[in-house]
Point group: C2
Chain length 503, copies 2
């Protein structure tokens, strides 16, 4: 008994210590949090009589039926392409053990949403789909899979909702895991990106490619010390939005790079091209000394040969300034970029933004395997939120009618007391697998029924009245042409089917 | 400047106070949490050399491609039915402001997952889809909508994964919001449940119905005091799993009900039937005095008339013991129950479990509206996880091959050095929108290629070799019959299309 008390005391003391240490560390953060909370509370109290704020959490949104309709259309195009290439799909939980995510995102780890400690495991919301995928492969000991995964991920980032940056957003990932021959799965990923961006019809695009080992080799040849590779890489990555002078300043002044090395880098990162550029670089004596550069260029040459076969060479461009942020890439990297309207002026293409990105990551799965067993992977993430925004703007500009249902027929009546007759007719249509609706009012007005059909884009209205019932007929009204025909009731199903097919 | 310092100090002092108060309150909880954490840590350390545990969080799971295939099939059947009835779909964020969920789930609130307080708003994971739906309607001031929503919800419940109870699970909700005439939207919900359970082909089922206002009226007539209605209701709800004697004991001994009232209740809750039962109850002089009972019975009579028209009366049964847990129901309530194999013995149907449940809730949206404006709603939630489990077991029992891809053709070669030829052929097929795959190895063995086609259920293999290329032909092998034919390469696409249609 005394011992149990002792243990209890020891545990308590330990708990107190843990708490104390945590508090000291968190003190500064907490004060500013509390200030924010109090200010928010004040704002709420000033807001009026409402019991609570009626809103979505910051950086998130509801999708209304029109947005869902656009979203489903985009998903269909993307999934069709994944399936055309034989992909399976998987799903993982929305949260992972906190430690599964630890040490995978570098600086960005501060953006991870943690769950409150309510006893039990410490959990975090997934930050992307790649780490859960790697965890899945290691846990199930899978060494070959071609899968897609479309799901929401969570980042406590500064939201910019009009530009499509949210705290809850979809990712749409396709990856090929397995030890295969060089560039064969890689080129299929590029082919898929090309198919998707073509089929979405959201404008001209280009897929920039580079190679992590080429970048490393190039930096080494320019005199960048190895411990500065990642830092200099992340400066290079800013070249699509920043002038060279500013990037150079960052490299030299902030990151302490030798100015001579920066000048050598400049010569390379301005280069763009295809096979001819690869061949030119293969003659560069500076690079020839570096195994990484030599092997990467050999792979790039093979890649462009395969691109020729896949008919995508005109979309793919070797761009020596492409670096991509994430640490875990080990081979080919790429980004799908939509070109602006200026794209029509030759040579002056202005990129309006990245809508797909990915690369080869041969080491990530090994981080999860108890024995460090590697599973080489290559994949891409489609920037679906940006694509939604573009698609919504496009449909708005076209003044397109976005249907939110697939209803084929509205069953209506022009007279009172025909509710049961409408129900009967609806039931006949449903039984024949025809999508049908009726008003839930006992005696709806005929005009409001017709208006509803027009507003929701329902192509046909089946109208019944006392006369029609007596004669065993139904009136079909075409919502767009407003033409009416009377047909035998027994032919309604086949008539709707025939008309729906020809529409 | 001095003032800013003062404000700063005041804010700090306030923050300290807030923290102190919280700490005191949380002290007891925290100690037990710390103990749990330390024990867990110890368990991990004892586990061996592995850096971390490779697992999904407790009560959650990954879906592998086979499970996803089953899941997508079930979703398709359900969504088809929703769309047949003209439903739209919406989506809401996975978390809500904590206060949005507060006070909606009674005792179960302790099962809500909270997010950690990392500054900013206090958030919780959604517990169901109904409260977010009500918040959505109130926020967007929508008074009419027929929508479905399929998404994951989160409950810190005790998981029983083999019986389909998870901490992360899908809900699949269909609701009709709007002020309409009695029982018209309600019967359509029952029709949809009936369609879905029929189309899923998971065995015989029955939809039990009751009415909250009838239950209240019946309890009043039996002498249950009004403040005990909900408590007695929840006892009645246990009758599907518990003997009457035990339920009675709970009512009388635990909940302090007058034994005479319990005996009167017994008489009612044993009743089952359809229109004839409604009519019988309408003659019950005891019930006739109670407006709630009288009006509810009138509605039940109307419901069964509509069920006749919709052809679902044989599936629907008035069951006076059905009570349903949730507080917010205000009218018709129902539950879809799968009958066990014993269902074939007449009158002895044993329910193997609820797979759908719902009812009318006319007050919930008003809880979110600043002015309390009500939007009447009726809806149903399909118990999708249970259905997945049943479906998986069924497919396993049937020894069914579950395909995880839709690939139509595997492009293979019997000789070495034909990688580029395989790529070319794949590219031709993809361009024609045929789903095709090939090995990512440079020189795969023909046997392993054929084995892959068989294992993944790919119906055709297109084989090329040096001879075939020279002659401009392709060999098509049928994976199931193993028959081979040689056709001109130019006819490959049309041949695959033709064969795929007839399969």
């Amino acid at each position: 008994m005394a011992e149990r008390v002792k243990i209890g005391q020891a545990v308590k003391a330990q708990a107190m210590l843990v708490r104390q240490l945590k508090e000291e560390k968190a003190d500064k953060d907490k004060i500013s949090e509390e200030v924010a909370r109090l200010l928010q509370l004040k704002a709420q109290l000033g807001d009026g009589a409402q019991k609570f704020i009626l809103k979505c959490p910051k950086g998130t949104r509801d999708f209304d039926p029109k947005q869902m309709s656009v979203r489903e259309g985009v998903f269909k195009t993307i999934i069709d392409s994944f399936k055309r290439h034989g992909a399976e799909t998987i799903d993982t939980p929305v949260f992972e053990l906190k430690e599964t995510l630890t040490g995978k995102y570098g600086e960005d780890s501060k953006l991870i949403y943690d769950l409150a400690d309510q006893g039990g495991e410490l959990l975090s919301l997934r930050y992307d789909l790649t780490v859960p995928f790697a965890r899945y492969l290691a846990m199930k000991k899978i060494s070959n899979i071609k899968r897609y995964h479309i799901a929401k991920v969570y980042r406590r980032d500064n939201p910019a909702m009009t530009r499509g940056r949210f705290r809850e957003f979809y990712q749409c990932d396709f990856d090929i895991a397995g030890a295969y021959d060089p560039m064969i799965p890689d080129v299929e990923v590029l082919k898929i990106v090309s198919e998707i961006l073509s089929n979405l019809q959201i404008g001209d695009f280009e897929i920039k490619v580079n190679h992590r080992r080429f970048l490393d080799g190039m930096m080494a040849c320019c005199g960048v010390p190895e411990d500065k590779f990642r830092a200099i890489c992340s400066s290079i990555d800013k070249l699509d939005k920043t002038f060279w002078a500013d990037v150079r300043a960052e490299m030299v002044d902030e990151k302490g790079l030798d100015p001579a090395a920066a000048d050598k880098i400049e010569k390379y990162v301005k280069l763009r091209g295809r096979t001819e550029l690869v061949e030119e670089l293969q003659k560069d004596e500076n690079l020839l000394k570096n195994t990484d550069a030599v092997e990467a260029l050999e792979e790039m040459k093979v890649l462009f040969k395969y691109c020729d076969i896949m008919n995508i060479t005109d979309k793919v461009k070797f761009d020596l300034s492409l670096a991509r942020g994430l640490d875990y890439y080990t081979g080919l990297i790429y980004e799908g970029i939509l070109k602006g309207p200026e794209a029509s002026t030759p040579g002056e293409a202005v990129s309006v933004g990245s809508v797909a990105g990915g690369g080869r990551y041969d080491g990530l799965v090994g981080m999860f395997d108890p024995k460090g067993k590697k599973v080489p992977c290559v994949g891409v993430s489609i920037g679906i939120e940006r694509i939604f925004s573009i698609m919504e703007a496009k449909l708005q500009a076209e003044n397109a009618v976005i249907r939110t249902t697939e209803t084929q027929v509205l069953v209506a009546s022009a007279q009172k007391d025909l509710l049961e007759e409408r129900m009967k007719l609806c039931n006949e249509l449903w039984t024949a697998d025809i999508k049908a609706e009726m008003s839930y009012k006992k005696n709806p007005k005929i005009l409001s029924q017709l208006q509803y059909a027009e507003d929701s884009g329902i192509p046909y209205v089946a109208i019944i009245g006392g006369d029609e019932i007596e004669k065993g007929v139904v009136k079909i009204k075409d919502t767009s042409t407003r033409e009416e025909v009377e047909i035998p009731r027994a032919e309604l199903v086949s008539e709707i089917r025939k008309r729906s097919e020809s529409k």
